[in-house]
Symmetry: C2
Subunit: 180 residues, 2 copies
DNA sequence: AGCTTAACGCGAAGAAATTGCTTTTTATGG
DNA sequence: CCATAAAAAGCAATTTCTTCGCGTTAAGCT
């Protein structure tokens, strides 16, 4: 592996080309030759590095799913969770959000990219949990929060076009915190 | 749409070809022309009917994910749920199971096939619930069961290569039933 | 039975994927 | 600091897949 120099430039310009073309022509119009041309690279370079279009899109999708800020402090564990999951739901259930999730899941035989998505959520929840513990609040484990809050939401988004409103997500938070 | 006659035969032979070739050469070796030849059909027929390989694989995957029997009666709601989710987890977390889930999810812009997967689980849970209600047991709603039992399991399978053992799934059942 | 038209077959044209070979460039060790 | 081994990218030819127009077949309907 060569992390720097030309390789880095190629990766960057290819990723940028994907983002640009996605915005310009829509995701379904993306092809490897098209991306390669825009990035100033030959198609074989992309095929050799990423394998196929799906894996490339998967990489780009994971980057876009990375949270850009720490979860906001609302003063209490419950409020922090409610605010975070509400925003999370909004992003993920949108048309683009769903597409990114699916892309991240698909082009990824080794499950690595999907795991990174879950790690992002876990990191955010951990930050919320640490802050709450600092306040002296009782905090469920991250696993429990993933199971009770993130998983039901993602299941709905992926499998069932159904309610993902704040009313619903807040209910998930309540169920997670009010458990015996 | 023409459900019968030649169309039905084509669909059947194409689906059969997918299953056969999948077993013979592995899923990654599948291509539209290969499937078409095996099915005794021209490639353009497949492209016209299914659009692309992903949608075809999605259709086949959903069929294979359809439960083949009603959930077994273990004498109580808790035991029924435990037995059902345990078997469900075993099937879904296997290598083939995960592949089918991903295929069903991916080749499906309209979300129809993914929804059918969820419907299968909902049907099974409903059957268990109706039986338990007949015994006079208190039964959570299907939505609650999906959120509390199915969703966490599927999230783990899709996003995090982690524990999906009976110990874990039975814990999900306990959490679902012991909720206030 | 006859009619309409959805669905399939065929073949050509165009686009994308794969691969061997060459060239460039990075990282390392003298 | 240069030499060198090897990784990564470029190039081009080949193979394979995809799309599309047009003719043919056969469901479904009256």
């Amino acid at each position: 592996m060569r992390p720097g120099g030309r390789s880095a430039r190629v990766q960057q310009s290819v990723h940028q080309a994907v983002r640009d073309l996605e915005a310009e022509r829509g995701r379904d119009a993306l092809t490897v030759p098209l991306i390669a041309t825009r990035a100033g690279v030959t198609p074989s370079t992309i095929y050799r590095r990423w394998g196929d279009l799906r894996e490339l899109l998967s990489d780009v999708a994971v980057e876009r799913l990375r949270p850009d800020a720490a979860p906001a402090d609302q003063g209490s564990l419950r409020a922090d969770l409610e605010a975070w999951i509400e925003q999370f739901a909004e992003e993920m259930s949108s048309s683009v959000g769903r597409t990114y999730i699916r892309d991240a899941l698909l082009g990824d035989p080794e499950q690595g990219n999907a795991a990174r998505c879950s790690d992002y959520a876990a990191e955010q929840l951990t930050a919320i949990g640490v802050r709450a513990a600092g306040r002296g609040e009782a905090v469920p484990g991250v696993e429990a929060l993933l199971d009770a809050i993130v998983a039901p939401l993602m299941y709905r988004i992926l499998f069932r076009p159904s309610d993902t409103s704040a009313a619903y997500t807040h209910g998930l938070v309540a169920a997670a915190l009010d458990r015996r």
